[in-house]
């Protein structure tokens, strides 16, 4: 059977398609069919010839097989230093082989490669900073995922996730109406406590256009209210687009480059339509990477920049605290040991380490902040990056991967972990569920709101 009913090379472009795939519980049939899926070797090889250029080719060629990257990969460390987890080995034995064999690989090979690409690498890019040749295996893995996606070898959840972006321009089945509706509902719920709280939708030329993660709309809409409250307290002139509000991209994890482009273009269109001075995204790591760091390239923007200056939530928060737009009541600062999860996606891959530490200075009583070790751009992945968190098939491997972060957190002695990244937040929650080390974790918004000095004119009556 070349193309299965559930598992095939066709991307999902309709709501019905998504529902059909969803109806295959846990992807049981999907993975069954995958065992029969044919490989289009010609297409594979042609794609490689068109897209694998000097950077990647050189990386694969000059790799000294020296193993210096081994120790840098948390998955190598945490899996008993299994040599099969050495970054260079992982990529040479997959992408390297496909190229060596000019795309003539069999089904078993592709399924093994899928397992490596999604369960042995979170695309955290840490190894790239430890290789003397500057070989970034994480980048090659995301390239490899693209090849696998094209051939239909992609974990079930991510095929669905990419489909969601194609259909809804959001990672979940949240429509534009749902978004605006939910945001308004949330603001209504909180406006008694914060008089004047509003959600300005589609306002042109605002200072800030705010974008979110669809999961906030679907499951934790309080986050939307919190964002509104903080903008309101800071006296910002902000807006949300009624279309193009979703910043995340499961398509990026899936390797569905076409969907990545569609998704990010929807946000850029909103920027072009509303012409905000700046775009600010919510506390999410991969969303920032997708929309701000990689997005411009998918959309073909030659200068590598989104249409409007785009910053991460932590940059805005740091700025608001530093300039006094938001004021913290020092007596309410965190007075317990607390640590911080550095998200690879915007710390290692966008250099925002200072912003988060500025925030810490405002909200944590001096002496109570403990850095993880290592930290900043050398921090380890939370264990759930690159889509790992959501893939049922690789749940076991994911749970092992969490051990690194567990031990890092335990070593700090802190019971509170600040995690300004949805994915990291999830992984840390899961690690508590799995290993019960007695920690709490939080985004920054709720913590900051609790310690805010509310300006007189914004206080509720009574």
């Amino acid at each position: 059977m070349p193309e299965g009913k559930f598992c095939n090379k066709k991307p999902i472009d309709t709501a019905e398609g998504i529902n059909e795939l969803l109806s295959d519980t846990s992807g049981n049939n999907y993975y069954q069919e995958m065992k029969e899926l044919d490989i289009d070797s010609d297409l594979l090889w042609k794609t490689i010839q068109n897209t694998c250029k000097s950077r990647t080719k050189t990386w694969l060629e000059i790799c000294a097989h020296c193993g210096m990257c081994a120790e840098s990969c948390f998955l190598y460390q945490v899996n008993g230093r299994d040599p099969k987890q050495v970054p260079a080995y992982k990529i040479q034995s997959t992408l390297g082989e496909i190229i060596k064999r000019k795309g003539k690989v069999d089904n078993q090979f592709m399924r093994d490669t899928m397992e490596t690409a999604w369960s042995k690498c979170t695309c955290c890019n840490r190894c790239g900073t430890y290789c003397p040749h500057g070989i970034d295996t994480g980048i090659m893995f995301s390239y490899l995922r693209g090849l696998l996606y094209q051939q239909g070898f992609v974990p079930w959840e991510l095929k669905i996730g990419a489909g969601m972006h194609r259909v809804y321009r959001a990672q979940m089945d949240v429509t534009d109406e749902d978004f605006v509706d939910t945001f308004e509902w949330m603001v209504e719920e909180y406006e008694d406590d914060y008089p004047g709280l509003t959600v300005p939708v589609d306002v042109e030329n605002a200072d800030i256009m705010y974008t979110v993660n669809a999961r906030e709309v679907k499951h934790y809409p309080e986050d939307l209210a919190e964002a509104a409250i903080l903008f309101h307290m800071a006296g910002e002139n902000w807006t949300v687009p009624s279309k193009g509000w979703e910043q995340t991209s499961l398509a990026m994890f899936a390797g569905d480059w076409a969907a990545c482009k569609m998704q990010v273009e929807s946000v850029y269109e909103a920027m072009e339509r509303l012409k905000p001075a700046r775009m600010i995204g919510t506390e999410c790591g991969h969303a920032h990477r997708a929309t701000v760091i990689e997005g411009p390239y998918w959309a073909g923007r030659k200068n590598g920049q989104p249409p409007a200056e785009s910053i991460h939530y932590v940059e805005w928060l740091a700025e608001a605290l530093n300039t006094g737009k938001l004021k913290i009541d020092p007596s309410k600062r965190i007075k317990e040991l607390v640590t911080l999860q550095d998200s690879c996606n915007y710390i290692r891959n966008h250099g925002l380490k200072k912003a988060t530490r500025d925030i810490i200075k405002h909200i944590v009583e001096p002496g109570y902040f403990v850095e993880m070790s290592p930290n900043k751009e050398h921090n380890y992945c939370c264990g759930g990056g690159g889509g790992f968190n959501g893939i049922g098939l690789f749940r076991k491997q994911r749970n092992i991967a969490l051990l690194t972060k567990r031990d890092q957190i335990l070593a700090t002695g802190a019971k509170l972990v600040l995690a300004p990244c949805h994915n990291c937040w999830d992984a840390i929650r899961d690690l508590e569920e799995e290993y019960e080390i007695g920690i709490r974790w939080s985004f920054l918004k709720p913590i900051v709101i609790k310690m805010l000095v509310i300006p007189e004119h914004l206080k509720p009556e009574e």
Binding site: R55, W59, I62, G67, P83, Y130, P132, I293, G304
Partner: protein, 225 residues
């Protein structure tokens, strides 16, 4: 024989080496694609240049990066091997005399005693490089015969050079072998993994530009290599 090796063969080797290196470098940089690599190289040349330079020079300093510092053993072996591997061919007295005669140029020359030490360091380090490949599972799993072959090609000129230097057996045989191996090495550089001799700079520059332009450089954060 000697004449042939220092004459025609030398010119061929040098020519192949220089043209090969140049051609490959050009191919490398022409093959960079802002969109595929997702780095806006040409839009931000300044940021890219700064990132590239940092990325290269940090890694040329022994223990200059987190990578080097976390693995002191390989770092010592690596620099033990490479300092000699780069300095000896260019700055050995004998080589300079030869270059002077052939090309009319000569560089500064190394103290002969120091040069001896360096050469021995190269060979001993190479021994450890091989040992590492045999002993450490994380290196063994990736090691292919090709890796040993490359190592062999790389140290052959040094080993034969030492035989000649200490006049073990027939001096002129070892000298000819040395010259021959050196020329093989020169020819091998553009076509094998030894291309890293120059592609190292290209690859590091590329990643440096990535960090300098896209991954934080333009946010004012220098990558803490």
């Amino acid at each position: 024989m000697h004449d042939l090796l220092t004459g025609l063969f030398f010119w061929i080797a040098l020519g192949v080496f220089l043209i090969g290196v140049l051609a490959r470098l050009i191919m490398y940089f022409r093959g960079l694609s802002w969109q595929l690599d997702r780095v806006a190289y040409t839009s931000h040349p300044g940021a890219g240049f700064k990132g590239a330079v940092r990325s290269i020079y940090k890694w040329l300093i022994p223990f200059g990066t987190y990578g080097w510092r976390t693995q002191p053993f390989i770092t010592i072996v690596f620099f033990g091997f490479h300092i000699g591997a780069v300095l000896i061919p260019l700055f050995l007295l004998g080589h300079n005399l030869f270059l002077q005669e052939k090309l009319g140029i000569s560089f500064f020359t190394l103290n002969p005693c120091f040069a001896d030490i360096l050469t021995w360091t190269v060979v001993i380090s190479a021994f450890f490089l091989i040992l590492r490949r045999l002993v450490l599972p994380e290196v063994r799993i990736m090691t292919t015969l090709y890796d040993y072959f490359i190592l062999g090609v790389a140290i052959a000129p040094f080993v034969t050079g030492l035989f000649a230097r200490y006049q073990v057996g027939d001096y002129s045989f070892w000298l000819n072998m040395h010259i021959f191996c050196g020329e093989i090495l020169l020819i091998a550089i553009p076509f094998t993994k030894l291309s890293h001799v120059f592609l190292f700079f290209a690859s590091r520059a590329q990643l440096g530009m990535d960090f300098g332009i896209k991954r934080g450089g333009m946010k004012g954060t220098k990558m803490a290599w």
